[in-house]
C-alpha cells in the first residue's frame, strides 16, 4: 500500500467541512432524485450466498454493483433510507462466515466509500455479541494482505461502534475464560492490542484505526486504564524517528482522541502532547506527516480553549425567514437588536481566563499553524487555515487581531507562493466566521488585490493560479460576510480586481472563480457599478473561452467608463508581456479594441510607454510591445482617431530601425518572436496608412527585412511576413506613385527566387506570391504564373525530386491566385482575370503530373500534399473555365483532359489516406454536380450522377469507405475510369489498414461477382487492365506489393475462377510479371507476397500450376532460411486445399511430397535441403531449377 492511502484519514477524521484534494467531476450535482436501483442492489446482495464460490461471477457482480453505487457519489444521501436494509443483509451473511464473509465485507466497503464512513458506521449493528468474533478476526487475519483489506477496514469501523456499547467489558471476559486473572488476555487488553496493530498499517485499515482508538479510549472505564499509557506510547512514537506507519498512526490517533474526548479529561495531557509534537519536528517530514501534525496542533489548541463563540465577531443583520414572515414587530425588533450588524465589542462578558493560563502553549500553537500556512503542500495549508479559523474563534479580540496582523505579513514578495495561498485561505476562513472585522478591511483589501494578480514566472511557466483562485474565494467570502455599507469604500477596487481576472486571466478556473465572486458581490452588495450588465454578459460559459473573454466580453465591459482605464492599465502592467505567447497576442488585441474607447489615453499615455519597450532586451516584452503598438494604431485608425503627433510618428517609424539594428543572430526562439512582432507591426503600419510613403530609408530597411523572412522555416514567421508583405506592397508600393514603377522589378525578382536551389526559399516565395492581391500581379500575371507552374512541376535536377513541399506551395499559390476573381473573356482586369492570359493547357499538364506525385521520404507519402493541392487547383480552374464561357463549353475544356483528371480524382477517392479520400470525394462530386453550366465533358456524366445522386452527396461521409467504395467500384464498368479506379483499389486492397483493405476487397469482389452474370467478358477485361497496371508499375513497390496481396485475396475468394481456365492466359502472364517483379529483390515482404500469390495459383489450369510450382521450387531453396520455411508451409497448405482437383500426380507421390514438406526442417543448410527439394521436383514432375549463380548461403 502506498503512503498516499493514508490521506483518506483526512476525510475520515474531519468528516464535515474538510476539503480534500480529490477532483470532483463537474456534474449537475442534483440530477438524481432517488435511489432507483434499490431493488436491483438488494437482489444482488441477496444472491451472494449462491454465487460466492464462483470467483469470476462474484467479480462481475461486484463490478456491476460498484457501478450502480458510484452513480450516487455526488448525492450519497439518497441512499440513506436504504443503507440499513443493505447492511442487514450483508451482516447476516458475514455472520455465516467462510469466504462469503470476505465478499460480503467487500460489498459493505463500497457503501462506506460512497456514503462516507461516518454515516454508515452509525447504522451498523450495535449488538455486543458481535464484538468478540470481530475482535478475533482482526487478531488472527493478516491485515496487510492487499486482497482482503476491505474486510479489515469494515471490521475496524464496525468495532468502533461496538466498543462504545456501555457494557462492562469484564463481563465478556467472564464468559470467555471464567478464571482468567491475567490482565493481558482480557478482552479490553486484546482490544487495545488490536488497536495498536491496526494503527501502524500503511493501508486503509490504518487510516480507519484512529477512529476506533478514539472511541475505545474515551470510554470512561478504558480511559482510566489505558489512556495514560497510550498517550505515552504515541508521544514516544512521534518523537522518536520510528517507522512511518507508526508515526502517522500515532499522530492520527492523538488527533482523534483530542477531538472525541471531553475537554476536562484530556486537558491535563495537553501540554505534554504539545511538547512531544513540537519536538517531533513534523514540519520537516513528508506531506502526510506534516498534515497529521498540523491537525493535531489545532486539536490541542481547541482543547486548551473553552468552546465559545467570539462575542466580538461581526454579524450581518437578522435573517430568519420565519420571523420576517410572521412580521411580529416586537419580536423582530428585539431580535434585530440582539444580533444587529454591529460588532459587540463586549469582551468582558465572556471569560477568557484560560487564554492567560495557557498563553505560552497557545502562542506556540498559533505559531505552528501560521507556519504551516506557508507549507509547500496544499492539504497542509488547508488544514492550517481551518485550524486558524477555529482557534481564532475562541480567542479574545486583541489576540485575534494579532493573528490577522500576522497573517497579513505572509503577503510579502519575499514569501513563497504557498504562503500567499495559505494567507488567502486563512483570510477567507476568518471572514466566513465573522472574525475579520470591518476596520481591518482597509489593510486587507490592498493585499488581496495584489494576490488577485499574483503570478510568479519560473522559466517558461508560472505558478500562482492557486493564489489567484484563493483570492477570488476571499472576495466571494467578503460578499457574504459584510453589509454593503462596510464594503462600499472598496467597491471600485474589488470590482476592478475581479473584472481583470475574470477577463484576462490565463487560467479558466481563475476566470470562472472571479466571475462567480463577482456575481455573488453584485447580488449581495448591490452597489457594484454596472454589476448587472456585467453579470449578464460575463457568465460561466462566455468567459470559459479565453479568446472570447479577452476580445469579445472585454469590449462589453470596457465600454463602461469606470472600468476602461483600469483594464487597459492591467494589460499594460501584466499581460502584454506575459510569458505565454497566446496571452500576449490576445492582450494586444484587447488593448487595441479597448483603446477605441479611450483614444486620447492611448495616444498620450500608452503609446509613449510601449514604444521604447518594443526594443526592450526581454523578448517577451519586446514581442508583446510590438504586437500591442500594432494593434493600437490599427484599431485607432479604423475609428478615425489615429491622430499621431510628429514625434510619435517618428518614434513608431524608428521602431523597425532599432529592432533590425539589433541584428538577429541565428534562428533562436527569441529571435523568431521579435521577427514575428515586427512583421505584425509593419503590417499594422501599412494598414493604418501611416504617411511613410516617401520615406526611402524606412521602406528600404523594412523591405529588406520582410524579404529576409519569407523563406523562414518557422511557419508562423513566414505567414506573418507574407501577410505583412501583402498589405505593405499594396499601401507603400502599389498606391505610392513614387514606388509603383518598381513593382515589376520586384515581381521578377520574386519569380526568379522560385528557381533557386533552396527549398525553403522556393516554398516561401511561392507562398508569398500566392498571397498577393491580383491588382499587384496584373501587369506581370503571366510571368508569375509561368514561374509558379515551373516551380510546381517536377524538374530535372535530381535533388529537387523530393521537394514536394515547394511543389505543393506553388500549386496552392496558383490556386489562390486563380480563386481571386472570375475569369473573363475580355481583356479587362476590372472584370476579372482575362482568360487568354491563362495557359490552361500548360496548367492542366502540370496539375495532372501533380496528381501522380507519389514522392516519399522519411515522413512517408509527402507527395500526397501535392496531389491534394493539385486536386483543389483542378477544381478551381475547371469550374472557372466553364463558368467563363457558358456558350461554348469546349472552348477551353478538352474532354481528354477532363477524362484524365476525373479518373485520377476518383482514384484518390479510393486510395488509402483518409483525408485525401474525403477531399477527392468532395471534389469529384462537386465537378460532377456542377451547375450553370453543367460540365458536359465529364465522361459518362449522366450515368455517374445516378451512382452519386445529389441526395447521397449532400449527406455523404467521404471518410467512410463502407459508404463510398461500393459506389466508386461501379465506375469500373466505364472504360474511361477502369484503369485509374482499379489502381486505386489495388493500393487500398493491399494496404495495412484493416478497414480500408476489407472494404476495398469487398467492393471489388462484389463487383466482379455481379458482373459474372453477363458472362466472362467483363472479368477478362478487368483482368487485362489489372495486368496492365502491374506491367506499368513493375518494380514500383508502392503499387506492386499491394497488388500482389490484393490478387491473392481475390483468388482466395474464388471470384477470379473464370480466369483460371486453360484458354485464358491470365495465370501465365501473372506469373511472368511476378517473376520479373521479384527477381533480384531482397525485400522479404515482397517475396512472401509473391509466394502467397503463387500458391494460390495452384488452383489454376495445368500450365499455370506447372509454372507456379517451378517458381516455388526456387524459393524452397532460397538464400533466406525464413523464405524457405514459409514456402514449404504455404505450399503444403495449398496442396492440401487444391491438389485433388488440379495436380496430376500419383497419390503415393503426393503423400511423399507432403511428408517431405512437413517433416523437413527448411531452415537448415541449403546443401542439406537440396536433395529433398529435388526429390519433390521429381515427384511433382517439375524440372529442377538450374542454379544460375552460386548459392548465397
Amino acid at each position: 500500500m502506498s503512503k498516499g492511502s493514508r490521506q483518506s484519514l483526512v476525510e475520515l477524521e474531519e468528516g464535515e467541512g474538510t476539503v480534500g484534494d480529490e477532483e470532483f467531476p463537474l456534474g449537475l450535482g442534483c440530477a438524481l432524485d432517488l435511489f432507483r436501483e434499490k431493488d436491483e442492489v438488494v437482489g444482488i446482495l441477496k444472491s451472494l450466498p449462491d454465487i460466492y464460490v464462483d470467483k469470476s461471477a462474484a467479480e462481475t457482480l461486484y463490478e456491476k454493483y460498484q457501478r450502480i453505487l458510484d452513480r450516487y457519489q455526488e448525492q450519497p444521501h439518497l441512499l440513506d433510507k436504504h443503507i440499513e436494509e443493505m447492511i442487514e443483509i450483508l451482516i447476516s451473511q458475514v455472520r455465516i462466515g467462510s469466504s462469503l464473509k470476505y465478499l460480503s465485507l467487500k460489498f459493505l466497503r463500497q457503501i462506506f466509500k460512497v456514503r462516507g464512513p461516518k454515516e454508515v458506521v452509525k447504522r451498523m449493528p450495535h449488538e455486543i455479541a458481535d464484538l468478540v468474533p470481530v475482535l478475533i478476526y482482526l487478531e488472527s487475519e493478516n491485515l496487510d494482505d492487499p486482497n482482503t483489506w476491505e474486510s479489515g477496514y469494515v471490521l475496524v469501523m464496525w468495532l468502533s461502534i461496538l466498543v462504545i456499547n456501555p457494557f462492562n467489558l469484564k463481563l465478556l471476559d467472564g464468559q470467555q475464560e471464567e478464571d482468567n486473572q491475567n490482565r493481558d488476555s482480557s478482552i479490553a487488553a486484546r482490544l487495545m492490542n488490536v488497536c495498536k496493530k491496526c494503527l501502524v498499517l500503511n493501508n486503509n485499515i490504518g487510516s480507519a484505526a484512529p477512529f476506533l482508538v478514539a472511541k475505545f479510549l474515551t470510554r470512561p472505564d478504558m480511559q482510566q486504564i489505558y489512556m495514560s499509557d497510550f498517550i505515552d506510547w504515541t508521544c514516544k512514537n512521534i518523537q522518536e524517528k520510528t517507522a512511518f506507519g507508526i508515526r502517522v498512526g500515532s499522530f492520527a490517533s492523538l488527533s482523534a482522541i483530542f477531538k472525541h474526548a471531553k475537554r476536562q479529561e484530556i486537558l491535563h495531557y495537553s501540554e505534554k502532547v504539545l511538547k512531544a509534537v513540537i519536538s517531533s519536528e513534523y514540519e520537516k517530514c513528508d506531506t502526510v506527516l506534516r498534515k497529521a501534525g498540523t491537525k493535531l496542533v489545532q486539536r490541542i489548541g481547541m482543547v486548551f480553549l473553552r468552546t465559545k463563540i467570539a462575542p466580538w465577531r461581526y454579524q450581518r443583520g437578522s435573517r430568519s425567514l420565519l420571523m420576517n414572515l410572521q412580521g411580529n414587530k416586537a419580536l423582530s425588533q428585539k431580535d434585530v437588536e440582539k444580533c444587529d450588524t454591529q460588532v459587540n465589542g463586549d469582551d468582558e462578558s465572556v471569560n477568557y481566563q484560560e487564554v492567560s493560563q495557557y498563553s505560552d502553549s497557545i502562542e506556540a500553537i498559533l505559531d505552528k499553524l501560521l507556519e504551516s500556512l506557508k507549507d509547500k503542500d496544499t492539504i497542509v495549508r488547508w488544514s492550517a487555515a481551518k485550524g486558524i479559523g477555529r482557534v481564532t474563534n475562541r480567542l479574545p479580540k486583541d489576540y485575534a487581531d494579532e493573528v490577522v496582523e500576522n497573517l497579513l505579513q505572509s503577503f510579502s514578495p519575499r514569501e513563497s507562493n504557498g504562503a500567499w495561498h495559505g494567507g488567502c485561505l486563512a483570510l477567507a476562513e476568518l471572514s466566513r466566521r465573522g472574525l475579520l472585522l470591518p476596520e481591518r478591511l482597509e489593510s486587507v483589501i490592498p493585499v488581496i488585490n495584489k494576490a488577485m494578480v499574483y503570478d510568479e514566472i519560473r522559466g517558461n511557466f508560472s505558478v500562482g493560479s492557486h493564489v489567484r483562485d484563493a483570492a477570488c474565494y476571499v472576495l466571494w467570502a467578503f460578499a457574504r460576510a459584510f453589509e454593503p455599507k462596510v464594503v462600499e469604500p472598496y467597491v471600485h477596487d474589488i470590482a476592478t480586481s475581479l473584472i481583470v481576472v475574470m477577463l484576462f486571466d490565463r487560467e479558466i478556473n481563475c476566470r470562472r472563480a472571479a466571475s462567480a465572486a463577482f456575481q455573488e458581490n453584485v447580488g449581495r452588495q448591490g452597489n457594484f457599478p454596472h454589476g448587472i450588465d456585467i453579470v449578464t454578459v460575463a457568465d460561466y460559459f462566455s468567459i470559459g473561452n479565453r479568446q472570447n473573454a479577452f476580445t469579445t466580453i472585454s469590449l462589453d465591459i470596457g465600454k463602461f467608463k469606470v472600468y476602461t482605464i483600469p483594464m487597459i492599465d492591467h494589460l499594460i502592467a501584466l499581460k502584454f508581456n506575459h510569458f505565454d505567447g497566446s496571452v500576449r497576442e490576445l492582450a494586444a488585441e484587447a488593448l487595441g479594441k479597448l483603446g477605441q474607447f479611450e483614444p486620447d489615453y492611448m495616444l498620450t499615455e500608452i503609446l509613449p510607454k510601449l514604444i521604447p519597450l518594443c526594443y526592450d532586451l526581454d523578448t517577451f516584452t519586446s514581442n508583446g510591445a510590438l504586437y500591442s503598438v500594432g494593434q493600437i494604431i490599427l484599431k485607432l485608425f479604423k475609428i478615425n482617431k489615429l491622430e499621431l503627433t510628429e514625434k510619435t510618428l517618428d518614434e513608431i517609424r524608428g521602431i523597425a530601425h532599432k529592432v533590425i539594428e539589433r541584428k538577429f543572430r541565428g534562428s533562436t526562439k527569441g529571435n523568431e518572436l521579435i521577427r514575428q512582432g515586427l512583421c505584425f507591426l509593419i503590417m499594422c503600419m501599412a494598414r493604418a496608412k501611416l504617411p511613410l510613403h516617401k520615406d526611402d530609408e524606412f521602406l528600404t530597411i523594412t523591405y529588406k527585412f520582410l524579404l529576409e523572412n519569407i523563406p523562414n522555416v518557422d511557419r508562423k514567421t513566414k505567414t506573418l511576413a507574407t501577410d505583412c508583405l501583402r498589405h505593405y506592397f499594396l499601401e507603400f508600393y502599389f498606391k505610392n506613385p513614387s514606388r509603383q514603377s518598381s513593382i515589376s522589378g520586384i515581381l521578377e525578382q520574386f519569380a526568379s527566387q522560385l528557381k533557386t536551389a533552396s527549398m525553403p526559399t522556393r516554398q516561401g516565395f511561392a507562398f508569398a506570391l500566392g498571397n498577393f492581391p491580383l491588382e499587384i500581379l496584373r501587369e506581370n500575371f503571366q510571368l508569375v504564373m509561368e514561374a509558379l507552374v515551373s516551380c510546381a512541376s517536377v524538374q530535372t535536377q535530381p535533388n529537387t525530386l523530393v521537394w514536394a513541399e515547394s511543389r505543393r506551395e506553388a500549386v496552392l499559390a496558383i490556386n489562390n491566385i486563380l480563386s481571386d476573381g472570375p475569369f473573363t473573356l475580355e481583356d479587362d482586369w476590372d472584370k476579372g482575370i482575362p482568360v487568354q492570359l491563362i495557359s490552361h493547357k500548360l496548367l492542366y499538364e502540370c496539375l495532372l503530373v501533380g496528381m501522380d506525385d507519389y514522392t516519399t521520404d522519411k515522413r512517408g507519402d509527402i507527395g500526397s500534399w501535392v496531389r491534394e493541392a493539385s486536386m483543389l487547383c483542378i477544381e478551381t480552374l475547371t469550374t472557372k473555365l466553364t463558368e467563363c464561357s457558358p456558350a461554348n463549353p469546349d472552348q477551353f475544356l478538352d474532354s481528354t483532359v477532363v477524362t484524365k483528371f476525373m479518373g485520377l480524382i476518383a482514384k484518390q477517392a479510393v486510395e488509402k489516406i483518409d483525408n485525401l479520400r474525403v477531399r477527392a470525394g468532395k471534389i469529384f462530386s462537386n465537378l460532377l454536380h456542377h451547375q450553370n453550366p453543367i460540365i458536359e465533358q465529364v465522361p459518362q456524366r449522366s450515368q455517374i450522377v445516378q451512382i452519386f445522386p445529389a441526395e447521397f452527396v449532400a449527406s455523404a461521409n467521404w471518410r467512410s469507405t463502407s459508404q463510398t467504395f461500393p459506389r466508386f467500384v461501379e465506375l469500373l464498368k466505364f472504360e474511361e475510369y477502369t484503369y485509374p479506379i482499379l489502381s486505386g483499389f489495388v493500393v487500398s486492397g493491399g494496404s495495412l489498414s484493416d478497414r480500408v483493405m476489407k472494404d476495398a476487397n469487398g467492393a471489388v469482389k462484389n463487383y466482379i461477382h455481379a458482373s459474372g452474370a453477363m458472362g466472362d467478358a467483363e472479368i477478362i477485361r478487368i483482368s487485362e487492365i489489372l495486368l496492365q497496371i502491374f506491367r506499368d508499375n513493375l518494380k514500383v513497390e508502392r503499387v506492386t506489393l499491394p497488388l500482389m496481396k490484393f490478387v491473392t485475396q481475390l483468388l482466395q475468394s474464388n471470384v477470379l475462377s473464370p480466369l483460371l481456365t486453360s484458354h485464358v492466359p491470365f495465370g501465365v502472364k501473372l506469373i511472368d510479371l511476378v517473376k520479373s517483379e521479384v527477381v533480384n529483390t531482397t525485400r522479404i515482404e515482397k517475396i512472401i507476397a509473391a509466394i502467397d500469390l503463387l500458391c494460390e495459383l495452384i488452383q489454376g489450369p495445368p500450365d499455370v500450376v506447372k509454372n507456379s510450382l517451378r517458381r516455388l521450387m526456387v524459393y524452397l531453396c532460397h538464400g533466406y532460411p525464413r523464405i524457405r520455411s514459409i514456402t514449404a508451409q504455404k505450399l503444403y497448405e495449398s496442396i492440401i486445399t487444391y491438389a485433388d482437383d488440379t495436380l496430376d500426380v500419383l497419390p503415393e507421390n503426393l503423400e511423399e511430397v507432403m511428408s517431405l514438406l512437413s517433416e523437413t526442417r527448411w531452415d537448415q543448410e541449403i546443401s542439406t535441403l537440396k536433395p529433398h527439394r529435388n526429390r519433390i521436383c521429381d515427384l511433382l514432375d517439375v524440372p529442377k531449377p538450374n542454379l544460375l549463380k552460386p548459392s548465397s548461403s
Binding site: 476539503v19 440513506d80 425567514l321 420565519l322 484563493a470 449581495r524
Partner: protein
Amino acid sequence: MVLLQILRKLKQKEKEVRILMLGLDNAGKTTIWKKFNGEDINTISPTLGFNIKSLDHNGFQLNIWDVGGQKSLRSYWRNYFESTDGLVWVVDSADKARLEDCKLELHKLLQEERLSGATLLVFANKCDLPGALSAQEIRDALNLDEIKTHHWQIVWCSARTGENLLDGIDWMITDIASRIFTLD
C-alpha cells in the same frame, strides 16, 4: 482545490439551498422576496437586476435569488458553479391575458439543463384580487400536470398580506432537503 470545490463542500456543510425566483414581470417576485426579508413592500418598482439574500429557516440556509424581469435571465442560473435546488415561479393570477406566455416561458425554462432536478414551486400570487383565477385553474392553464421532470407544487398566495408564503416555502424546503441532504 479550487473555488468550485470549496463551494460544493460548504453547501453540504452549511446546509445551503439555492432558490431562484422567476416569473414574468409584474408577477410579484420582488414583493415576495421583500416579504421574506422583512422589508417594506410599499416602494416597489420593476426590478432591474438581481438580489441575493441569505435567510435561515428550519436549520437550512436559503440563498434566495431574485432575478428581475430582464430579457436575459439565463446568465443567472448558467453562471454559477452550483446547481439550482429550487425554482419559485411566480404567477400573477389576475393577469389572464398573459397566462399563455407564462406557460410557454415556464416550460421552456424547465428544459434548461442547469435546472434539471430542481424542485418547482408555483406561487399563484395576487389571489386576493378580484377576478383572480384559482390555483386549480392556473394549474390547468399552465399545464402543470404535464411536468414529469421536476417535483412540483402549486400554492396560492398573496404577497401583499404574506398569506400562504410560508406554507409554500416549507413544502419546497422539505422536498429539496429530502433530495440533497441527510435528514437526521
